[in-house]
């Protein structure tokens, strides 16, 4: 059995250029195999331009990290496509395709790519098709439960499709994308004149129910969970399923602790020991794992039924 790899997903929030560069200079020393870079959420977030991301990627790659450039998930305009083409044509770094158009461009370049979770691969036929386009790794939709994934992987193996699987293992879940910017809406601004208010919320804006139940996170045009998805309790099972890698989604603070916690847990499992890692101090939200267990994604770890149902 291969040891689980750890990856650092793209930063989904809007951080300043300095903060991003500082974050990656620290991440360069973290115990993980792959770093995903780039702006995957909003076309207005351009603290780093395409070429900056490519240069940063080259530096990190020289330090022995595998680097993948994540494409913007919602591609609406010709300028979005121009930025995407630039990423695809960098000639060196792999692409995470978060849109079918990105998959098409990577295929045209003959470039192997990572099929991001936005590509909606829910079965082995579609996985085989994406593999035939050049995907060498895929990230299942974050809502996919353990049993469905197991069935897909079993069928894919039966069909002889060899592809690496990476799971979204830690962080606020990216749940939805819109044309509308909900952060701008909160401040009564239009999207075209958003004044980049996202930057004031480096982990997004919390959305509570009217009963003050923390529910979702507003992150510009993206809606995320408030709960912090954690697959930590399931690592032994995940490892046995033949998953290749686990993705840690960057958060404003404590990402280093999360990465090292996962590393310790993976090492323990590799040594056939029970991991004794508690990452709850490193999240300011409840830890949830409902999706993996085939129930509502909001269900907290260890919770049989949703608390209010």
């Amino acid at each position: 059995m291969k040891t689980l790899q750890l990856t650092l997903g793209p930063v989904l929030f809007y951080w300043s250029r300095d903060d991003i560069l500082r974050f990656y200079s620290e991440a360069a020393d973290w115990p993980l195999e792959t770093i995903y870079l780039g702006e995957a959420v909003c076309s207005r977030r351009q603290q780093l331009r395409g070429q900056d991301w490519i240069s940063l990627g080259r530096e990190l790659a020289q330090n022995g990290r595998q680097v993948v450039l994540s494409s913007q998930a919602l591609i609406e305009s010709e300028s979005d496509l121009r930025r995407l083409r630039k990423l695809v044509e960098n000639g060196e770094l792999q692409l995470e395709a978060n849109d079918l158009g990105a998959a098409r461009l990577a295929r045209q370049q003959g470039q192997p790519f990572v099929a991001g979770h936005h590509l909606n691969i829910y079965n082995a036929d579609t996985l085989a098709l994406m593999h035939s386009l050049g995907a060498r790794r895929w990230i299942p939709p974050v809502e996919m439960d353990r049993d469905t994934l197991s069935a897909v992987l079993g069928q894919a193996a039966f069909n002889g499709v060899q592809i690496e699987t990476e799971l979204f293992a830690w962080g606020r879940l990216p749940l939805a994308l819109s044309a509308r910017c909900f952060t701008a809406r909160h401040y009564n601004l239009s999207k075209d004149d958003c004044q980049f208010r996202c930057m004031e919320h480096p982990d997004g804006l919390r959305l509570n129910t009217r009963e003050q139940q923390a529910f979702l996170t507003i992150n510009g045009i993206q809606t995320m969970s408030d709960g912090c998805h954690s697959l930590l309790p399931h690592l032994a099972d995940i490892s046995a399923m033949g998953i290749s890698a686990l993705r840690i989604s960057p958060q404003w603070q404590h990402t280093a602790n999360v990465v090292s916690g996962y590393r310790q847990a993976i090492d323990a499992i590799t040594a056939q020991q029970k991991p004794a890692v508690d990452l709850s101090p490193y999240s300011d939200s409840r830890l949830v794992d409902g999706y993996w267990r085939g129930t509502a994604g909001i269900a907290a770890i260890g919770e049989t039924h949703h608390a209010h149902s």
Binding site: A73, L74, I75, E76, S77, D80, L81, D99, L100, G101, A103, R104, L105, R107, H118, N120, Y122, N123, A124, D125, T126, L127, A128, L129, V142, E143, T148, A151, G154, L173, L175, A176, L177, S178, A179, R180, F182, R185, H186, S190, K191, D192, R206, L207, N208, T209, R210, Q213, F215, L216, I218, T223, Y291, G294, T295, A296, G297, I298, H308, S309
Partner: protein, 338 residues
């Protein structure tokens, strides 16, 4: 600009046989429907078509010279996807005019198995740009793509200018504020989403709580909204609830509102949109009849009058009664909405 563009097809929803007949009788060029299972993204109890009603509906539409599209627009799940394959087989056997698919794996199945069957790319495929659409065309010869409700009219034009695939846009109905196919809010709250189960904010998870002051609407226990006495209560669709953000309680994502593109019809015709879709397979035959009749009149008038076209107050009045929250918007077609 070409002197005369063909009028876009008016594509209307049919959640039941009476709704299908209402659409056909009131001027729909095309109706779309789904089967009674989770292969279709409006998988509501009591709605949709079995073999007998589908046959009768298709016969009725074809007799009147109209087309029928079958929506198989959820993503085939897991190891056994024979249900989705059977749905495609059934559509082909029924003689529908096209099948609307979201999952590219299913497009491949349909293309291989039925080379002559016309395929449309569902809005649930989240194809928002021509590169994505052209990929599906190259591989599966799709003939039409339905765009998610997130592009401005200029962006729609940009897509049309760079593809041979016909483009269908949403014209009227409940406004889905998220990119279709890219929204998991429903499964986060309930475990079921449009991609996986063909449902958003499923009714079986809805609970109404009658308090002394207010009526609470819960989805799997989560309070989606609360209505004071006398305030009209809407269905607790997750993204159209009232929530609290930094001390403000408001429709944080979207008000209950309907999309209505009537005032933009001349531009929609000019840029070469092939079809205009009306949302609402969960709606009554009376709703379908009213919306279809109104849009038929408006579309024909826009075709005749071009830039002189003006929306008649009677149309607005007719549709506003049917709009969610009695509110209407041009949605993303109109930049200020964003």
């Amino acid at each position: 600009m070409p002197a005369t563009r063909p009028l876009p097809e008016l594509v209307c929803p049919a959640g039941s046989l009476p709704a299908l007949k209402a659409a056909v009788d009131n001027g729909a060029d095309t109706v779309y429907l789904g089967l009674k299972n989770d292969t279709n993204a409006r998988n509501f109890a009591g709605l949709n078509f079995d073999d007998r009603t589908a046959r009768e509906g298709i016969h009725y539409a074809h007799q009147h010279g109209r087309k029928v599209l079958l929506a198989i627009n959820t993503y085939a799940q897991g190891g056994d996807i024979s249900r989705w394959h059977r749905a495609i087989d059934e559509g082909a056997a029924l003689g529908v005019d096209a099948i609307i698919l979201a999952d590219i794996g299913l497009m491949k199945y349909a293309r291989n198995r039925y080379p002559d069957l016309r395929l449309h790319m569902s809005v649930q495929s989240s194809a928002t740009n021509y590169e994505a659409i052209n990929l599906a065309q190259e591989m599966f010869d799709i003939r039409r793509a339905v765009l998610p409700r997130v592009l401005t009219l200029d962006q729609v034009k940009q897509v049309i200018d760079h593809t041979n695939v016909e483009i269908e846009v949403f014209g009227f109905g409940s406004l889905c504020v998220m990119v279709e196919g890219r929204c998991l809010l429903s499964s986060y709250a309930t475990g079921e989403s449009p991609n996986s189960h063909g449902v958003c904010s499923p009714a079986k998870f809805v609970r109404w709580e009658h308090g002394q002051q207010a009526l609470g609407a819960r989805l799997n226990g989560i309070l989606i909204d609360e209505y004071q006495q006398g305030e009209p209560a809407g269905y607790p669709t997750l993204c159209k609830g009232r929530f609290e953000v930094e001390g403000d309680t408001y429709y944080a994502l979207e008000e209950p509102t309907s999309l209505n593109v009537m005032s933009m019809l001349p531009q929609i015709i000019d840029i070469g949109v092939a079809a205009i879709k009306v949302e609402g397979r969960q709606r009554s035959p009376a709703y379908v009849a009213q919306v279809t009749r109104t849009l038929r009149e408006a579309l024909d008038a826009a075709g005749r009058e071009s830039q002189r076209f003006a929306v008649k107050p009677a149309w607005t009045q007719a549709l506003s009664k049917l709009a969610e929250g009695q509110q209407q918007t041009l949605g993303a077609y109109n930049r200020p909405w964003k």
